[in-house]
């Protein structure tokens, strides 16, 4: 199950964001991903593990090479869904404001509220 909190935790680190940005360009081997980062491989692997646990990255072993790829379809869908929902309600509330403005005059003549 994808969860927004684990996703944000996954992205709350510059090394992990760099990995995500790199993987947005296509899958890559772990050694290739680790190369630009000045840290020991075990430390780097811990970052990869966080990304995998957040459901952002999937890795698989092909022969002796472990390859990583982005795995974010579910998150992208949810992000889109929330964006659409918010846009829908914002539109409804714009219409509510217009309705309240158009009926404001009636309230002044009828002060029963």
């Amino acid at each position: 199950m994808a969860n927004l909190d684990t996703v944000f935790h996954g992205l709350a680190d510059p090394t992990r964001r760099a990995v995500i940005t790199r993987l947005a360009g296509g899958p890559a081997a772990v050694s290739e991903l680790a190369a630009p980062h000045k840290m020991a491989l075990p430390s780097f692997l811990k970052h990869l593990k966080v990304l995998e646990e957040a459901g952002l990255v999937k890795s698989r072993k092909l022969g002796r090479v472990r390859t990583c790829a982005l795995e974010i379809d579910a998150m992208a869908q949810v992000e889109r869904w929330i964006t659409d929902r918010k846009r829908f309600w914002e539109q409804q509330y714009d219409q509510l404001e217009a309705y309240l403005a158009s009926t404001a005059l009636e309230e002044k003549t009828d002060d029963s509220h």
Binding site: M1, A2, N3, L4, V7, F8, L11, A12, R17, I20, T21, A24, L70, I72, D73, A74, M75, A76, Q77, V78, E79, R80, W81, I82, T83, R85, K86, W89, E90, Q91, Q92, Y93, Q95, L96, E97, A98, Y99, L100, A101, T103, A104, E107, H113
Partner: protein, 157 residues
């Protein structure tokens, strides 16, 4: 099929008393004046029963041919203060989400702060997932990274 839980909130400061805002929710006539689609849509089914346990439904067909179905049950209503409902949303007959939605009305001078909090279970992985994939994943990643780094996110298009 994937299940994801997420929450979002919308706040509005409305130029009206809580009583007038509440009244805009409590009758079909008033609610229909603002709770509607902005374009020409065909209403397939409309129910409105504003009481605890009552149901509201808005099933419509859009010019594109897509159908949407908002199917709600009111769980708590306190006049001029709050409305809590649970709604299912369907697109083309497929259930997309189940949401718990609370609308709180707070008096601020002669205005009203409306706080919309929505907790949703989002069901993904059907037809919508396929369409969503066409959007590509780069937009999503760019924006998440931008948000984390405090930059402005690009609009979703």
């Amino acid at each position: 099929m994937t299940l994801t839980n997420a929450t979002f909130a919308i706040e509005r400061l409305l130029n009206a008393s809580p009583g007038r805002v509440f009244a805009a929710y409590s009758s079909l006539e008033a609610k229909s004046a603002w709770f509607k689609a902005p374009s020409d849509i065909e209403t397939l089914d409309r129910d409105f029963d504003f009481r605890v346990g009552g149901k509201e439904r808005f099933h419509a067909r859009w010019p594109s041919g897509m159908t949407t179905d908002f199917d709600a049950t009111y769980h708590d209503i306190v006049q001029d203060e709050r409305i809590i409902l649970v709604y299912d949303m369907f697109h083309n007959g497929a259930k997309l989400s189940v949401s718990l939605l609370s609308v709180e009305l707070k008096s601020e001078g002669d205005r009203t702060r409306l706080i919309h909090t929505e907790q949703g279970c989002y069901l993904t992985g059907g037809d919508e997932a396929v369409r969503s994939r066409e959007h590509g994943t780069t937009w999503h990643i760019d924006n998440l990274v931008a948000l984390m780094e405090g930059r402005e996110a690009r609009a979703f298009a």
